[in-house]
């Protein structure tokens, strides 16, 4: 990890407070997003950390008129997870993990393991929609599992609200169809 900043680089109080409010309002949701995908507490911790580090780095690019901070953070989380999958596919996961992560304390491992368990329903739904097109799957997850408003999900996916609604409708329809008994 990077070298801690010097004391003179301490963040200004108002900006820090603003970002802390955003962090505390969204960290549980972002953690759940990764807990739904990863069975390892360390991976959940690393990806959640990576998301907020990236958010800090791109804070100035955030425009509230384009969408909520929650939508912005979930957009970042999706990119972070995509990179994680790419690293895993390339066989670089272990190397990247060794280079980046903070070793978790035992109580944190227990806590994150519980959160992974809490995502049982979410994981089941993800498994069931695995065959859907990517955008439909993402729309369904962001709205129905992560609780984003459709306009927030549209922002996170960088698509229009009407496109989001179409994807959502199709995904729900396909899901209902596959659930109908033969």
């Amino acid at each position: 990890m990077s070298t801690p900043p010097a004391a003179t680089d301490a963040p200004p109080e108002p900006a820090l407070n603003d970002f802390e409010a955003v962090y505390r309002a969204n960290v549980a949701g972002i953690t759940a997003f990764f807990a739904r995908r990863c069975g390892e507490p360390q991976a959940v911790a690393d990806l959640t950390s990576e998301t907020f580090v990236e958010a800090v780095g791109s804070l100035r690019s955030f425009d509230p008129m384009r969408g909520s901070a929650r939508a912005w953070l979930f957009g970042i989380a999706r990119h972070v997870y995509a990179r994680h999958c790419q690293r895993t596919a390339n066989g670089n996961h272990a190397l990247a993990a060794l280079a980046g992560h903070r070793e978790l304390e035992e109580d944190e491992v227990e806590e994150l393991a519980a959160r992974i368990d809490d995502q049982l329903i979410g994981r089941a739904l993800l498994a069931r929609i695995d065959s859907l097109p990517e955008l439909e799957r993402a729309a369904l997850e962001l709205v129905d599992l992560d609780g984003l408003a459709p306009r927030e999900a549209a922002t996170a996916l960088n698509i229009s609200q009407s496109a989001l609604r179409v994807r959502l409708f199709r995904a729900r329809t396909r899901l209902r169809t596959t659930e109908e008994p033969s």
């Binding site: 990890m1 990077s2 900043p5 680089d9 301490a10 963040p11 200004p12 108002p14 900006a15 820090l16 603003d18 970002f19 802390e20 409010a21 955003v22 962090y23 505390r24 309002a25 969204n26 960290v27 549980a28 949701g29 953690t31 959640t48 950390s49 580090v53 800090v56 780095g57 804070l59 100035r60 955030f62 425009d63 509230p64 008129m65 909520s68 901070a69 929650r70 912005w72 953070l73 903070r102 304390e105 109580d107 944190e108 806590e111 994150l112 329903i121 089941a124 739904l125 069931r128 709205v143 129905d144 599992l145 992560d146 609780g147 984003l148 408003a149 729900r172 899901l175 209902r176 659930e179």
Partner: protein, 178 residues
């Protein structure tokens, strides 16, 4: 806040906090949004929240109160969850773009899934609204609920106008697709 979340926050501040810089007012071209607005609005737009919880006291405090502070912020106090109508009328009279709405399991609008326990004062039931942080076109929404223990919670965030009339924090369940 959990152990993991607290430690992660400490780590973020320690290693990356220097990147959270204040806005540079006036240093940008006119067509660009001043960083001050972006940074300050961030907390509100983004579901920036404070959750205050308390157990109702034995005395009989006023059902609600709206107090404008010297720094321009507005402190909202709500002791009786049934007083939302009166509270909203008071907010409207004060010209605030803010509204209190119920947090219920039956509401179709899903949001605020990550309410944060932050109550530190057991004798007040308040939340502070910063009018300057409410972006143009948005309304500050204070979501109100009461748990099984009788504790009342307030969660604040900003929504594009007109904002929801209620908020639901319950995630959808798989049986809904059947």
């Amino acid at each position: 806040m959990s152990t993991f979340e607290d430690r992660l926050w400490s780590e973020l501040v320690h290693e990356h906090g220097h990147q959270i810089q204040p806005p540079t007012v006036g240093a940008r071209p006119a067509r660009r949004r001043p960083a001050l607005i972006t940074a300050s609005a961030l907390a509100t737009v983004a579901l920036a929240t404070a959750l205050l919880a308390l157990t109702a006291g034995t005395s009989a405090p006023p059902a609600y109160a709206v107090t404008t502070n010297p720094d321009g912020t507005v402190t909202v106090t709500l002791n009786d969850i049934s007083a939302l109508t009166g509270l909203n009328a008071e907010l409207a009279r004060d010209g605030l773009r803010a509204r209190a709405v119920p947090l219920t399991a039956s509401c179709p609008t899903r949001a605020f899934p990550n309410a944060m326990p932050a109550g530190t004062n057991p004798s007040t039931y308040t939340i502070t609204i910063v009018p300057a942080d409410i972006p143009t076109g948005y309304t500050a929404i204070v979501a109100v609920s009461k748990n099984a223990s009788g504790q009342v919670t307030l969660v604040q965030g900003a929504w594009p106008n007109p904002g929801p009339s209620c908020i639901n924090t319950q995630p959808i369940s798989i049986p809904e697709y059947r």
